[in-house]
């Protein structure tokens, strides 16, 4: 591997597939600055008409939850089935819910 200090910073890439949908995380790119990150993201993730809008965010700006805390954070939700809105009928022609 090359010296990590010499690598360009990492950027997380989000693509909006079409208007009305939210941006979704699709992966990451290396780039020297924000403008180049947008260009690299365009070339890497939207070559097959995947999107109409791009966001790039410095990976270093992302605050992640601690895997060691996964128990206290997520397990209490496991037995709370009443939080799922499963008692409604979703009409067939509603696509994005």
């Amino acid at each position: 591997m090359s010296d990590p200090k010499k690598e360009w910073p990492l950027w997380e890439v989000f693509v909006r597939a079409k208007n009305g949908l939210s941006h979704k995380h699709v992966g990451s790119v290396h780039a020297a600055d924000d403008r180049m990150a947008i260009e690299a993201a365009r070339d890497t993730y939207t070559r097959r008409m995947e999107g109409v809008s791009l966001w790039v965010v410095p990976s270093a700006a992302i605050v992640a939850s601690d895997p060691a805390e996964a128990g206290p954070l997520f397990e209490p939700a496991e037995d709370k089935v009443y939080r799922h809105p499963t008692f409604y009928v979703v009409p067939d022609n509603v696509k994005h819910i």
């Binding site: 780039a31 180049m36 890497t44 070559r47």
Partner: protein, 252 residues
């Protein structure tokens, strides 16, 4: 010169510029400095080869001898290629490739903007599709010139050397010969000499942002449009045309 021959040559020039530069950029595939750059250069190469296909198919149809785009690309000798000398120059290092791309794509975008109004409807249609692709090529390359020029001492030196290598091939982009004049008068082509001020403005703005000096003026090298090429094109074609020369009409 007959109008028909000039029109065929004009389509060949447009097609060969795109084909030769597309092949050159394809040489980077798998070798670029970063994965992201590898994809970017390959995308540009494929855009250009797509444009070449359309222009060469048009030239073949005008010629009327049954040569399609593939025949013109893979079974034509080096002296019959009509591309400008700039696009056939070797890739060198990444900075040299970027120098070639910035100088060419800036010109190419200005050309295609005008060609959208060509009286030749086939040329106008290709130009309308290609102008958006090439606007991206030009912006990609100029952004890189700025990053390399205003980067480290090494990237700056490489960018200076790359521009220095390519600069002697700039004048040919704007030169008007008999074919160009006939086509400009017929409303098919562009008076390329009128593009120079805008090109100079865009390139000077790029150089200023990159904190680079404009390379010293030098005598322009010409001849590509008439088939007088540098030694580099023959070597490139021997690789590009190998399969169709060794196995004529081979298909997937």
């Amino acid at each position: 010169m007959s109008g028909d021959r000039a029109r065929i040559d004009y389509a060949l020039r447009l097609g060969d510029d795109a084909l030769v530069l597309g092949q050159r950029l394809g040489e980077w595939c798998g070798h670029a400095p970063m994965l992201e750059v590898d994809l970017g250069l390959a995308n540009i190469a494929l855009d250009l080869i797509g444009q070449a296909q359309h222009f060469l198919a048009h030239a073949g149809a005008l010629e009327g001898h049954g040569r399609d785009a593939d025949k013109l690309a893979f079974r034509r000798d080096v002296l019959d290629f009509k591309n400008c000398l700039l696009v056939e120059q070797p890739n060198g290092d990444f900075a040299q490739t970027i120098a070639r791309q910035a100088l060419f794509s800036t010109w190419h975008e200005l050309m295609l903007q005008r060609l959208q109004g060509s009286s030749d409807t086939a040329i106008a249609a290709v130009a309308q599709k290609a102008v958006k692709e090439v606007a991206y090529h030009a912006s990609f390359a100029r952004e890189w010139v700025v990053r390399l020029g205003d980067g480290t001492a090494e990237s700056r030196q490489r960018m200076v050397d790359g521009l220095d290598w390519m600069w002697r091939f700039v004048d040919e982009l704007f030169a008007m010969d008999l074919v160009d004049q006939a086509m400009a008068e017929a409303g098919v082509g562009v008076d390329k000499s009128t593009l120079r001020p805008e090109w100079d403005h865009l390139i000077d703005a790029m150089l200023a942002e990159a904190t680079l000096e404009r390379p010293a003026p030098r005598r322009g090298v010409m001849g590509g449009r008439e088939g007088r090429h540098s030694e580099h094109l023959g070597h490139m074609l021997s690789e590009m045309q190998f399969l169709q020369r060794a196995y004529p009409d081979a298909v997937w």
